[in-house]
């Protein structure tokens, strides 16, 4: 299968000169659509940094990273923003919903950013929330919802514009086991059925079994990158 994301000898360092710190140390990675990939590894191993580059929010220092045929290193800020606007959905550990907006409005944000009229976008937001059993919450504000409900709103927001890539940084870390399981179930479903590429960074062993592929990092390197579907058997 043609790789949707492809990294070759990817290096990222922060800072300059002697205080420079190399966080990604020559990453090679190919990921294909239809897979849910989990990136695991100890704290500080560079997971979020790698995810940031794949999400087109950060440029590599050297090496090659291609997302849907676009070389990240060569994109302008505006081109990166455009790619994120159309092709990337984001799910964060702390949900990061906008407190001033209702669930439906929050879910509608990517459409509004892309230029959809407010009313249409919010209507679409309500419909997506319906798919995640949140219909009766669509008028609620984030503070009126549980963590699990908020994270499902965030999932709706990440998917509303049908992005080809969904990136999740510790999506279950703030959730109880049951809510985390629900969220992961949704994510692995959309990876499989909608032919999307879902990348989840996590420490949470409880959710490893959802991975089609488990990539383990340590100290800026990938230490284990078994073939597709291997992990489930090992687990």
């Amino acid at each position: 299968m043609e790789a949707a994301i492809s990294c070759n000898n990817l290096v990222k360092s922060f800072g300059k000169g002697s205080s420079s710190q190399t966080v990604l140390n020559g990453i090679n990675l190919d990921l294909s659509a239809g897979e849910l990939t989990i990136i695991a590894g100890p704290s500080g191993s560079g997971k979020t940094t790698l995810l940031s580059i794949l999400a087109c929010t950060l440029r590599p220092t050297s090496g090659f990273a291609e997302v849907f045929g676009q070389n990240i290193a060569q994109l302008t800020n505006a081109q990166m923003a455009r790619l994120r606007r159309h092709d990337v959905g984001f799910i964060f550990q702390q949900y990061n919903l906008i407190p001033a907006l209702t669930a439906a409005e929050n879910a509608a944000i990517p459409l509004i950013i892309a230029g959809a009229p407010y009313d249409k976008a919010v209507e679409a937001g309500r419909r997506v929330l319906g798919k995640f059993d949140l219909t009766e919450h669509s008028h609620k504000y984030p503070r009126q919802m549980s963590g699990g409900q908020q994270q499902r709103v965030a999932v709706a927001r990440a998917l509303i514009h049908k992005p080809r890539l969904v990136i999740c940084d510790e999506p279950t870390a703030a959730l109880d086991a049951k809510s985390g399981e629900t969220v992961m179930q949704i994510l692995s479903d959309i990876a499989a059925s909608k032919n999307r590429l879902v990348i989840v960074v996590t420490h949470d062993h409880r959710i490893f079994h959802h991975a089609d592929r488990l990539v383990e990092m340590n100290d800026g390197n990938i230490v284990s990158n078994p073939d597709q579907h291997n992990y489930a058997r090992i687990a």
């Binding site: 606007r85 984001f90 990061n96 950013i113």
Partner: protein
């Protein structure tokens, strides 16, 4: 995006209220003070601008402005009259006198006019007629002066007043625009004025020009012929205002208050708005990560600022307008004061500046915020 911007703004009731009130206060202070200053300065020339039939003022080179009248030789009158293009020229006296009535001994301003042409006389009458000034030892007084001299008394013509120890009879009450110096105004014919002041010399000579002449050219001709200062009414009004601007502490006092209004508005709004953006930085960062452009965020910010500024300005300017609708009717010091359109315009520009500054300073933060930061 606009709707989102507004929802985020109003969600923070405390800050949006603080900003609206800050702008309103700043608008009120700036507009009210600027308008008072404007009207006050205009009043320094109110005798000149109110004397609508006068085309040219001839004055002593040693006198700079209306309240510093000169002393012109009698013969000058004929020299002025002989200049071609002068239809008529009359003496005008501006002096200071002591007024003595049972409950009032005070200084007053004496204005002696030509009772035939009435050049330089006020136009608005309350009681009687200025034609009566043709008689000698009679006077007219301004409405406000009347109530200073005879407090709480109805207007009665025919009563007497001691002016510089001359007994004058009241024949008319007039309503001139407010002068800058708030003393009673005593109007007499010029012969009575000479008698009362004991000085046979006019303070100014007022000129009416023949049709088709222009005041600027004729002023130059009069000045050249006589060696005295001659200027069109507009110019004399301007130089009188300019004199007060240059030589009194009034402009600097008002200037300080107006600047204070500006600075307070700027400080409150810029600081509050910066805080608002700072508190929302994560939300803006999330939008940025999702592909919102810097321009989109800037538009949101400018809309928020524009709204706060618009509402605050409307409240403030309504307050100022209300002040000038009501207060001048009851407080004589503010009689005739109004809110000139220049003040509306300049206050609006100042508020626009404040909100633009606040918005642009604050949005810098959001623009510099890297989208990768929301993931960390």
């Amino acid at each position: 995006m606009q709707k989102i911007a507004l929802r985020m703004l109003w969600a923070d009731t405390g800050k949006s209220l603080a900003m609206v009130l800050g702008i309103a206060f700043s608008t009120l202070l700036m507009a009210q003070q600027a308008a008072i200053f404007f009207c006050l300065m205009n009043n320094t020339a109110s005798h000149i601008t109110a004397a609508q039939d006068v085309d040219v003022w001839v004055s002593d080179p040693r006198s700079d402005y209306f309240d510093d009248p000169g002393s012109l030789p009698q013969g000058l009158l004929n020299s002025v009259r002989s200049v071609e293009g002068v239809e008529y020229a009359v003496p005008f006296i501006r002096g200071q006198v002591t007024v003595d009535s049972p409950n009032f001994v005070e200084q007053a301003i004496l204005i002696g006019i030509d009772p035939i042409t009435k050049l330089g006389a006020p136009q608005k009458m309350i009681e009687g007629s200025l034609d009566a000034l043709k008689a000698s030892n009679v006077f007219a007084v301004d409405k406000r002066g009347y109530s200073d001299i005879w407090p709480n008394e109805d207007i009665v013509l025919g009563r007497f007043l001691e002016v510089n120890n001359h007994r004058l009879k009241l024949v008319a009450v007039v309503d001139p625009p407010s002068p800058f110096i708030s003393m009673p105004l005593i109007y007499t014919g010029f012969t009575t004025a000479y008698g009362v002041t004991g000085n046979q010399r006019p303070s100014f000579i007022l000129v009416r020009i023949t049709d088709g002449q222009n005041a600027v050219g004729l002023s130059a001709a009069i000045a050249e012929r006589t060696g005295y200062v001659a200027q069109p009414s507009d110019d004399f009004a301007k130089s009188t205002v300019a004199y007060y601007m240059k030589n009194t502490g009034i402009p600097i006092n008002f200037f300080i208050t107006i600047v204070l209004g500006f600075v307070v508005g700027l400080a409150v709004v810029a600081q509050t708005f910066y805080l608002f953006i700072t508190e929302n930085i994560k939300n803006l960062g999330v939008m940025k990560a999702m592909g919102a452009t810097g321009w989109q965020l800037t538009q949101m910010t400018l809309l928020q600022c524009a709204l706060v500024a618009g509402i605050g300005f409307s409240i403030g300017i309504a307050g100022a307008a209300w002040f000038f609708e009501t207060v001048p009717n009851s407080v004589t010091a503010f009689k005739g004061f109004y809110l000139p359109w220049e003040v509306y315009l300049n206050t609006a520009i100042a508020i626009l500046g404040i909100s633009l500054f606040a918005g642009l300073i604050s949005i810098q933060r959001a623009i510099r915020y890297a989208p990768a930061e929301v993931l960390r």
